[in-house]
Symmetry: C2
């Protein structure tokens, strides 16, 4: 919020409005990403900030005729209210999609949601009392952190390395928290091409983490929007494939088809299903039949696996350009992850650099990124940043990373000069 | 939930699952309507239970070409993520729609939601701490009651008569609750053709209720899905037209266009807007660009006011048939409302009749309704029921009401016989 916004806000605030809010409203604050997007979306800026999928590969003519035909042939159903749990046919097709990552599921255990964000919201609603602990990777997805915080969770980050969450760090965190008498509700993680770190959790760590959580009676919330976007080989099986009782699995069509329909899903242990459906009905009544049936037609009649392959080629080429340019131009003092899929590279600078304070200089150099603190609930991450290669053209990525390299180089030198003086 | 379901639920429940739930999860229970719909949707049953709009009047060819053209011309935008607050052009058009009911609004103060149910959810999230009081009409919309209950509100019903909420009853309720030290967060009401009672709140009562709430510093949440569906004359101006500071207004395209896009909105006092947008982003990230732009194209290029007139004709004819049949066949001991718009008639039977217990007999007679208790948070309403005339054909309505008259007649006689013995 700019100062001007704050001013305007205050001027018009009805008397004592904040006194009427619920306690949780204090946690409804704009995310760091949010204020950034207005700036980053200006056309002269190369945005390495956003996580928007690249839709240039989508066959628009085909999509247009799918939705046209859907309304002509099934308008009375597609434009009507639908089931709170989601369209039965789509839930069956979702099982086929998940089978690609080793999951065997019953369509009855799936809830279709308005993007997987809604699933995160509903799971938080069912499980989180104020003060309950949610374990997350360090760093973690900004949208999940925002939701957990609105439900007044105490978010605890667990160490990652280049192979994702570190099982021993998880054990230690649980032990410490239990010793403190804290109530741990679930572990939230993104095993494939993590947002924001871009790393992949190998199969053996998956098994180890599943064992730890099962033994400690902590649910795992496995968020998997990028799982089918592996560049050189398929991702390891989903964690849900190994454990159907202790894993809540979240999927999404936003990165494999398009985000504009806002269709995601949760696959949950059977015992949880009814509560989840009721929570969703209370939240949105029902997901859009029209959006669900559009996705369903697309899956039924189009070569959707080939389409995912096109996405993979497109993102892989962009990842290559980003890594090449980082290797060629970024200062030696910086390190970064080397993603094997997905959208993101995570860059770590020397600890004296504050990436949030550096942002205005980057904007002047016509490049934007997301400062690392956005991905921590605890203020950590100030010398890191997330770079996305999903959306811009390869040329723009090269241009943006080169510009950013200059900004970082200058900032490091400025810090060195300050220290020497 | 059937006994069999309960059994299945228990068998598969992971150890102590309920102990891991948040406190609020205890309030996530299936609504009375929910279990009913499976039965009521069987083709041989005349369902006077549902509130589904009648889409026979919708020009499907036109809708099909709107969505086709939208993707062909603007696919890159329509299928991408959008603004958390909602599409700017649609928010402007929503202002034009609301102007029909006397509202002057700034598009900046509108949040587009996944149906107005989501707006209810977000407002509850911002305002309701456990135990806070929410005032509602007696009876009130079942979907709102469910949401308030999930946020652990204490719902207090305020008396209605054939002209809607009784201002003096509101004054008394506030006085009593304040005397008890209770915290009242807002008054939720549906001034036009109320769901479930079908009554209309006249202009003078609107002004009086606005005065009371302003003086007592209680927000009004004005839910207005049916306002443009007045049968003989336009509805009085919206309450929001008179008070832009103390009214949160909820609108929906579900009954004036189609529900399948799941597009509603909230118009809020400026000071509330940012919190609402943040809460929505945390809940669903953003509403569907595709659905919003479809509605936007329809509003821009189609004679949508004529379309609403067709809806009005269609519903009015059905209302007439329902009232005629009630007048002709229902026992004298019953009374009912005479709606001037919207979808519903509220029937009151002698107090010894239990409409929930009577349901199986109605199903045998091939007719379904919603028992009155569904619309009360406090178990009241057992001798009333909601009849919808929106969806079935006039012939089916006649048939259903006649069948129901027989069931009610028999039930009254059975009760009389029991009493005489």
């Amino acid at each position: 919020m700019s100062n001007e916004d704050v001013e305007r806000y205050r001027t018009h605030e009805p008397e004592n409005l904040h006194e009427r809010y619920a306690h949780r409203a204090a946690h409804m604050k704009p995310s760091e990403i949010r204020s950034l997007f207005a700036v980053a979306s200006r056309p002269e800026i190369v945005s390495l900030a956003g996580g928007m999928p690249n839709l240039t590969a989508i066959p628009m003519e085909t999509m247009a005729s799918i939705v046209e035909k859907l309304i002509k042939d099934h308008g009375q159903e597609a434009l009507q209210y639908g089931s709170g749990q989601g369209h039965p046919k789509l839930r069956e097709q979702i099982c086929d999609v998940m089978a690609l990552e080793g999951i065997r599921a019953n369509p009855d255990d799936i809830l279709v949601t308005t993007g997987s964000q809604q699933a995160l919201d509903l799971i938080s609603r069912i499980f989180i009392d104020p003060g309950d602990v949610v374990l997350v990777e360090a760093p973690s997805y900004v949208g999940a952190l925002g939701t957990f915080s609105q439900y007044e969770a105490s978010v605890v980050h667990v160490e990652m390395d280049k192979d994702g969450l570190v099982p021993e760090a998880l054990r230690q965190a649980i032990k410490t928290l239990r010793y403190q008498g804290r109530k741990i509700k679930f572990l939230y993680l993104i095993p494939n091409y993590q947002n924001p770190a871009g790393v992949l959790l190998p199969a053996d760590r998956r098994t180890e983490i599943l064992d730890i959580c099962r033994r400690e009676k902590i649910f795992i919330v496995e968020d998997n929007p990028y799982g089918l976007l592996g560049f050189d080989r398929p991702s390891p099986n989903a964690m849900r494939a190994e454990d159907s009782e202790n894993v809540i699995y979240l999927g999404s069509f936003s990165k494999t088809i398009v985000p504009g329909f806002r269709i995601g899903w949760a696959l949950v242990p059977q015992a949880l299903r009814e509560k989840l459906v009721i929570a969703s009905e209370s939240s949105i009544l029902c997901p859009s039949n029209f959006a669900q049936m559009s996705i369903s037609s697309y899956l039924a009649d189009q070569p959707w696996r080939d389409q995912i392959s096109s996405f993979v080629e497109l993102y892989k080429a962009r990842r290559d350009v980003m890594l090449e340019t980082l290797d060629a131009y970024f200062p030696k003092a910086a390190t970064w992850t080397r993603p094997q899929g997905g959208f993101y590279v995570w860059v770590t600078l020397p600890p004296e650099i504050d990436t949030k304070a550096m942002m205005p200089k980057a904007i002047v150099a016509k490049v934007a990124y997301v400062p690392g603190t956005a991905f921590y609930a605890d203020g950590f991450g100030s010398w890191s940043m997330r770079l996305s290669y999903c959306y811009p053209t390869p040329e723009r990525i090269r241009e943006g990373v080169k510009a950013l390299a200059g900004v970082v180089e200058e900032e490091i030198q400025r810090r060195n000069t300050l220290r020497l003086n």
